[in-house]
């Protein structure tokens, strides 16, 4: 029967960084350029921040720069609170960034220019997507695969998919588990993982959920 199941094919995304040649030395310049650069650059500095794997105090490059280089912690917190996964598109993210900066500038004096060498450099990426040669047909195989693949694969299926599919809320894993394996409860649990609150360590949470389900299946516990 498993032969009839459409397998889940793991893919991976590798991003090559491209410079736009534009940079900002202060907050007004940053605001101006955020309003002008292409969607690809906003996408890179906000969504692909999750690919860095080291979630520290911030959730995007703009917030990081505001906190570490402009040394404006309040602005950094507010920019960090913009959750790109609850917004419908990159242009909405751009609007939110500008709104937060305008709001800050209307309440606080303009921060000084950053030290030379600490400017914000606007980049974008070209993404190369390729299959990693792993296909799974059931949850047990999926469990093995999820522990084995590179972080770039988790990013592609769990984060990038939300933008790629344009649905705003769905990841590739839960979609396959619900629509191919018909395991809605497992899919719902995976969907309940907040992508904004986790970096690539989402892998561990997905593993826990699937492992619990596989164990229950082995022990004959009903879904």
């Amino acid at each position: 029967m498993e032969n009839n199941i459409e397998p889940f094919e793991f893919k991976q995304c590798v991003s090559i960084v491209k410079s736009t040649g534009k940079y900002a030395s202060n907050l007004s310049e940053l605001r101006k350029l955020i309003s002008r650069v292409g969607d690809e650059s906003i996408f890179h500095h906000v969504y692909q921040y999750f690919l860095k794997g080291h979630m520290l105090e911030y959730t995007n490059d703009f917030a990081h720069w505001a906190g570490e280089h402009l040394e404006e912690r309040a602005l950094a917190e507010r920019l960090s609170s913009i959750d790109p996964y609850t917004l419908k598109s990159v242009s909405e993210v751009r609007k939110e960034l500008i709104r937060e900066i305008d709001d800050f500038l209307s309440n606080f004096p303009e921060p000084r220019d950053v030290a030379p060498g600490s400017e914000f450099y606007f980049n974008e990426t070209v993404s190369l997507v390729f299959p990693v040669g792993v296909k799974t047909r059931n949850l047990a195989e999926f469990l093995v695969a999820i522990g084995h693949i590179d972080a770039g694969s988790i990013y592609y299926h769990f984060y990038d998919s939300r933008v790629r599919l344009g649905e705003g809320v769905v990841d590739d894993f839960s979609r396959w588990i619900e629509h191919t394996l018909y395991r809605k409860k497992v899919a719902d649990k995976i969907r309940a993982i907040d992508p904004f609150m986790h970096s690539i360590e989402s892998r561990e949470h997905i593993k826990e959920i699937v492992e619990e389900c596989v164990r229950a299946d082995m022990e004959g516990v009903e879904d």
């Binding site: 991976q12 410079s19 040649g21 080291h54 450099y121």
Partner: protein, 409 residues
């Protein structure tokens, strides 16, 4: 050949290299630089060319030939691109162009992709065949040096060649310029299989310790770098002196003499004088090819510093991190890209800051170990040679598919 890296580097990088080579199979890829040996560029080419050949790419490596006058001029160009004032005459630029023109006769530049490294051979683009300008042949200029604040006249002279390329590659975002061509960012890398980074046996490490007369009786602090002011060797000794009041330790300053720097000798003497008769300070002058010895010194150390006040990229930081060593680096050049402050090491801004972080590491071995392990993972994912090879092939492929932001393979 690529299998040598399996189990060491990220699986995805190897897979993507293979997929790209499948797409580019049979195509020719030529690299041109100005030296066969010495330096990071030659090091990566020595590895990369056979590996690409093995994967079906017709890869070649050509070296630009020039006389002493030419290399004096290009050394000045190099220095001026890094912001140092140098005197240039029209004749010097003509000589530079003339050497490139002469080399055109000896170097077969007919290839599907041509990657020119650094300024020395940059003018070769002027001799690109007319037929290849509008065709699918890709010419890429790869800049390995810090061009954040170049002397403007020198940059504008070079720029007239650079804008003729299909794209340019810089090591760090802040080195990129506002150019009418695509500009990619590719950080440098280390080779985990080279003598400088491969695993060593305890015996090999001990032999180097004995060779340099370094007792292994107390914690060792190390900085590996050329003896020049930008690496702040005096600052490192000062930091050691502060630490020494609290923790007994040794300091090793190891590096090659800066032969192309007229100040090199003076600085070395200054460092020696400053160290005085302290038997726990070891100043080691090593020829640039003593890779295994550097490797062993790094592996026998407890804390590794790169307290530079000006830096290109500072790959010695990645070398140390790959060996799971806790690192402390100055917040300059590419060092903050390698050290995620508080996670893979510490970034410092002063002698006092360096001393404080050394003491933290010496007093918290668990923290030092944890950061060392995080550092190795960070290097594995970001600064190994396979990632750089992957990036070069990707840029070639992207240039063939210009304008697309997502490429499915």
């Amino acid at each position: 050949m690529i299998r040598q890296y399996s189990g060491i580097v990220p699986k995805g990088d190897l897979l993507l290299i293979q997929k790209l080579c499948d797409k580019l199979k049979g195509k020719s890829f030529i690299h041109v630089n100005s030296t066969r040996e010495g330096g990071g560029v030659a090091e990566i080419l020595q590895r990369m060319i056979p590996l690409l050949k093995d994967l079906g790419i017709d890869a070649r490596w050509e070296v630009l030939e020039g006389d002493a006058t030419f290399f004096e001029i290009t050394k000045k160009i190099h220095n001026a691109l890094q912001g140092n004032r140098e005197k240039f005459t029209k004749k010097m630029w003509e000589y530079y162009y003339e050497v490139n023109r002469k080399n055109k006769k000896n170097i077969n530049l007919n290839a599907d992709a041509v990657l020119i490294h650094d300024p020395q051979p940059a003018a070769l683009i002027d001799f690109r065949r007319k037929s290849s300008r509008s065709g699918k042949k890709i010419w890429i200029w790869r800049c390995h040096i810090d061009v954040a604040h170049p002397v403007s006249g020198v940059w504008s002279n070079l720029k007239k060649y650079i804008v003729q390329y299909n794209s340019a590659i810089f090591s760090v975002s802040k080195f990129a310029k506002s150019l009418p061509i695509d500009e990619f960012i590719v950080t440098p890398s280390i080779d985990p299989l080279s003598d400088k980074n491969r695993e060593l046996t305890d015996r090999e490490i001990n032999e180097v310790g004995e060779q340099f007369g370094i007792p292994r009786d107390k914690p060792i602090i190390l900085q590996v770098s050329r003896f020049d002011r930008f690496k702040d060797p005096i600052g490192v000794i000062n930091a050691y002196k502060i630490v020494k009041k609290y923790n007994d330790c040794r300091l090793i300053l190891a590096g090659s003499p800066a032969t192309d720097d007229p100040e090199g000798e003076a600085i070395l003497n200054e460092v020696r004088d400053y160290a005085g008769n302290d038997p726990d300070i070891h100043i080691l002058l090593l020829p640039p090819d003593k890779h295994k010895e550097i490797n062993a010194l790094q592996r026998m150390s407890d804390v590794i510093l790169q307290k530079s006040i000006k830096e290109g990229f500072g790959l010695t930081v990645s070398e140390a991190m790959w060996k799971e060593k806790p690192v402390i680096g100055g917040a300059v050049g590419g060092i903050p890209l390698q050290i995620v402050h508080g996670l893979t090491g510490f970034v410092v801004y002063s002698v006092e800051g360096a001393a404080f972080r050394i003491r933290q590491f010496l007093n918290n071995p668990d923290m030092a170990k944890r950061m060392g392990q995080e550092g190795r993972e960070y290097v594995r994912n970001n600064f190994l040679i396979t990632r750089q090879i992957r990036d070069y092939l990707s840029i070639w492929y992207c240039s063939m598919n210009k304008g697309k932001h997502v490429l499915e393979l």
